[in-house]
């Protein structure tokens, strides 16, 4: 199954730019299409489409979510086994192993390095065999941004 784009699409191209699988094509200002053989059902197109023109694999309409509201992975180091499955599962490559740890000869753990690139697909969490990756809205960053605005 694959995500699909309805005739509501006005061809803004936001979904195509956001698609990590390069599965979306179409001319500017013309309705876009999703190549079902390439679609990985990450939902990035649905979250970004301002016209609710994307249907998910079950045919339900996707709602646009503000970028700041996208879920981001949080890694629970106490249960992480450093197997690297989450890093491999990430379709945009925003998770990486920590830089050289301060203590010698210990495991390096994954962390979200490129927050902006994260599309909130949750594949890292879905694939983690020990449930060490939790998807949540990054609260702290939101607070900082909010206080920054009010000031």
């Amino acid at each position: 199954m694959s995500y699909t784009i309805t005739e509501k699409c006005n061809g803004c191209g936001a979904c195509a730019r956001n698609c990590p699988a390069v599965a979306i094509s179409g001319e500017k200002k013309k309705p876009h299409t999703i190549d079902a053989s390439l679609c990985i059902e990450c939902g990035a197109c649905g979250r970004i489409c301002p016209h609710a023109a994307v249907l998910d694999a079950e045919g339900a309409s996707c709602m646009m979510i503000k970028r700041s509201g996208w879920l981001k992975p949080d890694i629970m180091l106490e249960s992480c086994v450093a197997c690297g499955i989450c890093i491999d599962a990430c379709p945009v490559g925003c998770l990486v192993l920590s830089e050289l740890p301060r203590k010698k000869g210990v495991d390096a753990f994954p962390y979200l390095k490129d927050t902006k690139a994260c599309i909130g697909c949750g594949f890292c969490s879905r694939e983690c065999p020990v449930e060490a990756v939790v998807m949540q809205v990054p609260v702290k960053i939101e607070k900082v941004a909010a206080s920054g605005e009010s000031a």
Binding site: M1, S37, A82, C83, G84, L100, E127
Partner: protein, 649 residues
């Protein structure tokens, strides 16, 4: 999406630069899984009999593991397959890193290459779209440099497999590298890639890998992780040397539990057992002629596990590995960062050449990784050359002025550099011991320790007779990762598979050398299980923890929904093993020719040390092993009825 395999392979014909995607029917996966099984299926059916390993008809395959990416642990191994130019037999090499899932993310279970490219090329796959690109700019660079160049161009997320200069120069002991120092080294398949003028594969895909029951996969993985992370109080690496000495002198031993090994691997890596191994007689020394007396504790303490661990900055895990036996080290030498040398490398470049200089081992390990040359075969060939020099078969003139003496570190480094560059004597030695001995003549073959042309690993079959069985009788001779007496104890297969014997709680060492039907049964069980595991992409070190704790059979059921019994999965392993043997027979291999050199069998038994008086009679062991698979007990050829029963024919 809910199948663990992608159902497709990519066949690249380098001669006319064409690429074909092929759908593989489900029944192939049901019979052979993917990984090595799928590789054997394609090679057996597509390669014409008698194909020249270095000719256009040889097929080189990069096969991802069946369980890779399904939520299982220890399942990130990929298998490189092809007809080995080193042995002329079935050839495979196994490697970890991150390359196995990358093949599946591109939408394929395996990528095969045939033909010979008119000019150097590399394969680039982005989102299931494959292109062959000109490799003129990267040809000649070493494996690490090439990977850095390609990753700079295509992004850090791309997975890269490359050959180094050794593969380009068609050294028959070269392999294929990935992750800057993980190497699919055995069977000389780097030379096949080199002769095909294929420099690298760059894979960058995002296709998702499914499983029939993801929740069950996770449940099993959590069960497995619990065992792997169970800490045992292990303090100092030098303790193992004492344990090794004890194991040498005690006449009675007990079955080993792999949980201990897992903890050693986690803390020190594979090198954790090097000193113990020398002490107990597991590691061959002085080109298989020496014993622990030639390399006593005073010497081996210079390469002890703690010294290696001290250089480690951070642990290295292959994909889906909770153990992390690898490491990245910082050393004083020319290369600031290097992969921690593995047990095999340390002893092949150390004890086997009587070299006790740890810095040189680090340096040579990195040098060989960059060149894409097998450390086991390179060390063994150097040891062979040293013995030839000591015995007067090679002269100073032959070696280009090198003083090839036991323990002469400087000349060892110079010799290996020559082998990598194929200069002078190095050109002669770059194809392994058997070919070098044939070229030298003068009785040098006596000192070439090989099985079917391949140098055996640093586990002495005189100490664990199981190793000699597998070195000699496997379709890919000289390999140490397929079975041994010790492996059988640690796999604990009898806990799952009906009819397999449980080892007794205490037994005498001498009983290991008695030839009886039980030995044949356990050796065959190891071969079947490892063939299955190589199809599944499982790591040997994970399997050491025990089949109940690292639940391979249950993962396979949860990933596929097949609900087969362990016995039925073992039958899949048996089928893969027989197919590999049938491949050899098709290509005119006589299984008897692959028996390991007589020195390694102890035909003239050692007079001192741990393996004093030990002789392993492979001639007598072979019929029993072959019979377990339904192969002819005198020739080792699979019987017609066996091939029909297994649906190979």
């Amino acid at each position: 999406m809910n199948k663990p395999y992608m159902g497709k392979i990519l066949m690249v014909d380098l001669s006319n630069q064409t690429m074909t995607e092929e759908a593989i029917p489900d029944h192939v996966y049901e019979q052979y899984l993917s990984g090595m099984g799928l590789g054997a299926y394609i090679l057996y059916n597509r390669m014409p009999a008698g194909a020249d390993p270095l000719g256009p008809e040889n097929i080189l395959g990069f096969c991802s593991g069946f369980l890779t990416g399904t939520g299982s642990l220890f399942s990130g191994r990929w298998t490189l397959v092809g007809k080995s130019p080193l042995t002329g037999c079935w050839g495979d090499a196994n490697c970890g890193g991150t390359f196995s899932p990358a093949i599946k993310h591109c939408g394929f279970d395996a990528i095969f290459f045939k033909g010979i490219s008119p000019k150097p090329v590399y394969l680039y796959i982005k989102n299931s779209k494959a292109t062959l690109k000109d490799a003129a700019d990267i040809w000649g660079h070493d494996a690490v440099e090439t990977e850095e160049i390609l990753k700079q161009q295509y992004g850090q997320k791309a997975a890269v497999a490359v050959i180094g200069p050794a593969g380009e120069k068609c050294s028959l002991i070269s392999g294929v590298c990935s992750d800057k120092g993980r190497i699919a080294a055995r069977s000389g398949l780097g030379a096949v890639m080199g002769i095909k003028r294929l420099k690298a594969l760059v894979l960058d895909g995002v296709q998702q890998i499914g499983a029939h029951d993801p929740a069950a996969m996770k449940r099993l993985s959590r069960h497995c992780a619990k065992w792997v992370r169970m800490p045992l109080p292990l303090t100092s690496g030098s303790v193992f040397a004492r344990v090794g000495s004890f194991l040498r002198v005690t006449p009675v031993v007990f079955p080993q539990d792999g949980l201990l090994y897992a903890n050693i691997l986690k803390k020190w890596g594979t090198g954790g057992m090097n000193q113990a191994s020398i002490e107990m007689g597991d590691s061959p020394l002085k080109n298989w002629s020496g014993s622990n007396r030639d390399f006593p504790l005073a010497k081996s303490k210079k390469i002890n596990p703690d010294l290696i661990k001290n250089t480690e900055i951070v642990k290295y895990h292959c994909y889906s590995c909770p153990l992390g036996c690898g490491g990245i080290c910082a050393t004083k030498g020319q290369h600031a960062h290097t992969h921690k040398p593995e047990y095999e490398s340390i002893l092949a470049l150390g004890g086997l050449c009587m070299n006790e200089d740890l810095d040189s081992i680090f340096y040579l390990n990195e040098l060989l990784n960059r060149a894409g040359m097998d450390t086991i075969s390179a060390g063994a060939t150097a040891a062979f050359a040293i013995e030839c020099y000591e015995k007067g078969i090679l002269t100073k003139e032959d070696t280009g002025g090198l003083e090839l003496k036991w323990g002469n570190t400087e000349s060892l480094v110079a010799l290996i550099k020559k082998m990598i560059n194929r200069e002078g004597i190095g050109d002669l030695l770059a194809d392994g011991t058997k070919i070098a001995a044939a070229k030298i003549g003068k009785g040098a073959i006596e000192f070439a320790i090989h099985a079917g042309g391949q140098e055996p690993a640093m586990h002495d079959g005189r100490n664990d007779p199981g190793f000699n069985v597998h070195y000699s009788l496997e379709p890919s001779p000289g390999r140490h990762t397929l079975g041994a007496h010790l492996y059988y104890e640690m796999f604990q297969l009898w806990k799952c598979v009906k009819g397999l014997p449980r080892p007794s709680l205490l037994y005498t060492k001498a009983s290991k050398y008695k030839i009886n039907p039980e030995k044949a049964q356990t050796a065959a069980a190891c071969s079947k299980f490892m063939s299955l595991a190589n199809g599944a992409g499982m790591c040997l070190f994970g399997l050491f923890i025990g089949v109940k704790r690292v639940p391979t059979f249950d993962w396979l059921n949860a990933a596929t929904g097949w609900q087969l019994t362990p016995e039925e999965y073992m039958a899949i392993g048996e089928r893969i093993q027989t197919l590999k043997q049938a491949f050899n027979i098709k290509h005119g291999v006589e299984p008897r020719d692959n028996f390991i050199s007589s020195r390694a069998l102890g035909k003239v038994p050692q007079t001192e040390g741990a393996n004093k008086g030990r002789f392993v009679d492979v001639e007598k062991l072979a019929p029993g092993y072959w019979d377990q698979f339904g192969w002819d007990t005198t020739t080792g050829k699979p019987k017609e009825e066996t091939l029909r029963k297994l649906k190979i024919k």
